[in-house]
């Protein structure tokens, strides 16, 4: 489904600031795999997501979706198959457009955008139906500008928008990190629900060990641009947050940030 082959990326090569973000990384996700990615700061977690999405071009290696090489495609072309939710709750929605307009934009992922009316009565009904899943009452606020919603509401909406347009691959970049615990829990629950319902092939970066073990069927740990642990579903089920912490402390120079330790 999603295949990453020997991908490398170095930032600022040949300068004092040179940083190897990805070193010869290979990863193979089967259809419906839900992989959580953990690692210390600078381990290359976000870089790998950005390489798949096309935001950062890799130096070497290939990215394939359904056997098709996509690493030469620009970001917006890949987005026809790749759905994303960003860490910043403000990033995934257009604030000056209404809830229904945002959903309509998402609905046309990969389709031709022509001169048909963007929001019609039947679409509105369908959007309201989809919004009920969020249990935030947004189905009654279709004409509200998204900028007026709270961060948690916007992130839940971003998640819905990224998924209901049925991408091949879903990329989640610490999408619950900027939310308060209650909202984070809601968005995590919705993520599980949506990914399972649609059988989406998903890659989720997180700082939260419990979350990393709780969701998904596979877990990888990254350190200094390499994958140092790839836990199969069976291994993952037996793991505890203590095991993961133990693995971290074994790593030379792996600095856990405060956020991780507190959780």
């Amino acid at each position: 489904m999603l295949k990453i082959e020997n991908v490398s990326k170095t930032f600022f090569p040949g300068t004092v600031n040179e940083r190897k973000a990805l070193v010869d990384v290979s990863l193979d996700l089967r259809e419906g795999d839900f992989v959580t990615v953990i690692g210390s700061n600078g381990a290359g977690k976000s870089t790998i997501l950005n390489t798949i999405a096309g935001r950062i071009p890799q130096d070497r290696g290939q990215v394939l979706i359904d056997g098709k090489e996509i690493s030469k495609q620009p970001e917006h072309k890949r987005a026809a198959r790749v759905g994303r939710v960003f860490q910043d709750p403000m990033a995934g929605t257009a604030p000056n457009l209404t809830v229904e307009e945002n959903l309509s934009l998402a609905d046309r992922r990969g389709a031709v955008r022509g001169l048909a009316r963007a929001v019609t009565g039947s679409k509105r009904e369908r959007f309201a139906e989809e919004l009920k899943v969020l249990e935030l009452g947004l189905e009654n606020r279709l004409k509200t500008k998204v900028g007026l919603l709270s961060g948690g509401q916007r992130q839940a909406l971003s998640l819905l928008m990224a998924t209901f347009s049925k991408p091949k691959v879903l990329l989640l970049d610490e999408h619950t990190a900027a939310l308060d615990p209650q909202r984070a829990e809601l968005v995590t629950r919705l993520t599980k629900q949506v990914v399972q319902a649609q059988g989406l092939t998903t890659l989720m970066v997180t700082h939260n060990m419990n979350q990393a073990l709780d969701v998904g069927n596979r877990l990888i740990m990254m350190h200094e641009g390499r994958i140092i642990l790839d836990a199969s579903p069976e291994e993952k089920q037996r793991m505890t947050p203590e095991d993961l912490l133990h693995r971290f402390t074994q790593l030379k120079g792996a600095a856990l940030d405060d956020k991780t330790l507190l959780q």
């Binding site: 999405a53 620009p74 970001e75 917006h76 072309k77 987005a79 026809a80 759905g83 994303r84 960003f86 990033a91 995934g92 929605t93 257009a94 604030p95 000056n96 457009l97 307009e101 309509s104 934009l105 998402a106 046309r108 992922r109 990969g110 955008r113 022509g114 001169l115 048909a116 009316r117 963007a118 929001v119 009565g121 039947s122 679409k123 509105r124 009904e125 369908r126 309201a128 139906e129 989809e130 009920k132 899943v133 249990e135 004409k143 928008m161 990224a162 209901f164 347009s165 629900q193 949506v194 319902a197 649609q198």
Partner: protein, 347 residues
């Protein structure tokens, strides 16, 4: 007074074009100073050579879109800063405009133009103003319609959150180019109409036009609001008329016509600075409380929305009668979940 309102209604097309780039795309496009004259020159020369003025004005739109295309390509594919890309096209167009016109001035006296046609049918006065207002409103409605299509919504999103709309497979480069082409096409039409209105084309006629557009957009939206697209474009059209009236008023008060550019600049500066002044916010709040000014504009947009909702309700009603549950069809397991969970909640 009549001249000011008539001109204002023609310049409303300029204001709508500037609204598209400056407000919707968040891109201050300076190409307009050049493309306005390109449209005027193209239409003028065609009319002098006996071409139908409708066709000449339509072709002015086409040459305007080409100017916009050039700025768009320079900015998106050439990675040139937006302001600079506009300036480069604008300055280059000056020479092209002279080539098109063949001289610095092309008189259109005794030619058949759209405006002479208009005055053949109606007297100058209330009727001519109404007809020009209808034309301006038509342009406004077309823009309203476009911004609510799939591609128009992508254009709005490009100006609103570029990262987001890219992640939904939209080429923001292409949207910016579309926006610039439409905007400069409108400049071409407006240039053609102004030339036909005043009876000549002048190489200097576009200089400072961006300020006229900005003043109309900023003043109009400050007074009449910019909540939804329908309201924002209406405010822009009214802003263009108000701007002309303000200029007329200043001239009547004995100001030197040579000072008009300075006056325009000061007007735009005032419109940009005043909302930042705390006293102004108090006035805005007070006005809001009384429901004057902005309130009236909001009312009209509410009316439009209510009407749209009514239309939607009847449509869905019809679907129910016909037994076509278009939107309600649980076409994904996702939707089934939704109905399931809400049903559970109600119990």
């Amino acid at each position: 007074m009549i001249t000011a309102i008539e001109l204002g209604l023609i310049y409303a097309i300029v204001a709508l074009g500037v609204y598209l780039t400056f407000r919707v795309l968040n891109f201050p496009d300076l190409t307009v100073d050049g493309s306005f004259t390109t449209g005027a020159g193209t239409a003028g020369v065609l009319i002098v050579n006996g071409i139908n003025p409708f066709l000449a004005t339509a072709l002015a739109f086409v040459v305007g879109t080409i100017a916009g295309l050039i700025t768009g390509l320079l900015h998106t594919k050439g990675n040139i800063n937006g302001l600079l890309a506009g300036i480069l096209t604008m300055i280059g167009l000056y020479s092209i405009n002279l080539r098109i016109m063949g001289a610095a001035n092309v008189p259109l006296l005794r030619e058949n133009t759209l405006l002479t046609l208009l005055y053949d049918y109606v007297d100058r006065g209330v009727l001519s103003i109404v007809l020009l207002a209808v034309v301006a409103i038509l342009f406004k409605l077309v823009i309203d319609w476009y911004l609510h299509t799939d591609t128009g919504l992508a254009l709005q999103a490009t100006g609103d959150n570029e990262q987001m709309i890219k992640s939904f497979a939209v080429s923001t480069d292409r949207q910016k180019i579309y926006g610039l082409m439409i905007s400069n096409g409108l400049m071409g039409v407006a240039g053609a109409l102004v030339a036909q209105y005043q009876g000549f084309v002048d190489i200097q006629m576009g200089i400072g036009l961006i300020l006229v557009g900005l003043a109309s957009v900023i003043v109009g939206q400050a007074i009449f609001g910019n909540g939804v697209v329908f309201q924002a474009t209406l405010a822009v059209v009214l802003g263009a008329v108000l701007y002309r009236l303000a200029i007329q008023f200043a001239l009547n008060a004995g100001l030197n016509p040579n000072d008009m550019k300075l006056l325009s600049a000061l007007l735009v500066i005032a419109a940009l600075l005043l909302p930042q002044w705390s006293g102004f916010r108090k006035i805005a709040k007070w006005r809001h409380g009384l429901g004057i000014g902005g309130g009236a504009a909001t009312l009209t947009s509410d009316g439009a929305e209510a009407a749209a909702e009514g239309e939607m309700a009847t449509k869905t009603e019809a679907q129910r009668v016909l037994g076509v549950p278009a939107g309600a069809a649980p076409d994904s397991p996702h939707a089934t979940d939704a109905t399931g969970s809400t049903a559970g909640k109600e119990n």
